[in-house]
Chain length 188, copies 2
DNA sequence: CCGAACATTAACTGATCGGTGCACCTTGTG
DNA sequence: CACAAGGTGCACCGATCAGTTAATGTTCGG
């Protein structure tokens, strides 16, 4: 399998797992949907778990890249960028096929804290937190670590609820909450 | 099966599903762990889905009762009770066997918005939101609906992150965030 | 044109999935 | 004692699970 074929597989697996869940999607169905033979899958990945870990790595890269770029496109000032996180999220929530956060779902199916899939999900959240902390620092927050962690809490809550209740309403609620919290850390 | 036996089954199913996930726990294993024959299960529940819905109903009742009582025990004044929500959550996060929110996990495995299990999970969140809104109203918030929704966002974010990162740290972060938001709605 | 290298399809493994059927057993009631 | 209700254990159903194997292309350098 060429490198590009491998990418197609991981991309297809990502799509299938995101839409259907990890346990619910079997390897046969996965091969069919990704248009790759089952044999080829097991040439590159020894187990289903390894394939899942590869899709999570791809998703982590995709999501953080998208978020950072979208935030930069929406605002210039770091303080405005902190709030723009929630504008970007709002856009995501309204996309067709939005079904929550891949990593929350992964940690919901692989529950043990020492499960490799759980560990990978935790790492994704840590990377996001450090991005938020960076933004908070550049915005001049007195305690950027604290503000970064608080942004993360609101972001995760928003994603979970957007998948369960009204996405547009939740996006607005989270944005308002974030505005309050940011203002408390960065008084004019 | 007597009524009490049925309760034992649902209780056992709740425990098993919470610790292992819905797809990952099969009916054979479930019967074994709940010490109930498989035949008996299918006497009372036509499908696995019906059993899951019954466990979610029990969990909804259990959790909201626990939260309301714990909050009332921790604080008298409605305003303090709003903050006490996050003290109660912090206690929960540190319990042995804490593995996140049952309903977030359910909606992570049953992804479609019209899936009965997804619908039941959404309803649980709506009931919690109305409890938070009630508290906000009694605390004298100008816009209790808004504050209730914001509390819910922070609460869901806290639960998700407590399952992925350090539970004690997340509890503290969420509490601090809540304090800021509550103060913005209820200035002294 | 030959043959090594790699990809594919598809059948297959044993285990488990959700769900059913049946023979047996215990229990309370008349 | 008789009998019905409701329980158990177990074998079984077809389907699917993760993963393997073999037979059959397809592609390429020489």
């Amino acid at each position: 399998m060429s490198a590009s074929k491998r990418d197609e597989l991981v991309q297809g697996a990502l799509k299938a797992f995101y839409a259907g869940g990890f346990h619910a999607i079997g390897m046969d169905r996965l091969a069919k949907e990704a248009r790759v033979s089952k044999t080829a899958i097991y040439k590159h990945f020894r187990t289903k778990e390894e394939l899942i870990l590869a899709t999570l790595r791809l998703r982590d890269e995709q999501f953080r890249n998208w978020l950072i770029r979208r935030v930069e496109a929406l605002a210039d000032d770091p303080r405005d960028q902190l709030l723009a996180i929630f504008d970007a999220l709002g856009e995501w929530f309204l996309e067709d096929g939005f079904k929550g956060c891949m990593f929350i779902k992964a940690s919901s199916e692989y529950l043990d804290r020492d499960d490799p899939i759980h560990v990978a999900s935790a790492e994704h959240k840590r990377l996001l937190r450090s991005y938020f902390t960076d933004l908070a620092r550049r915005a001049g927050a007195q305690d950027p670590e604290e503000l970064g962690k608080q942004i993360l809490v609101m972001k995760e809550g928003a994603i979970v609820l957007a998948h369960l209740l009204d996405p547009a309403e939740i996006a607005a609620d989270a944005r308002t909450t974030a505005r309050i919290v940011i203002s408390a850390h960065l008084p004019h």
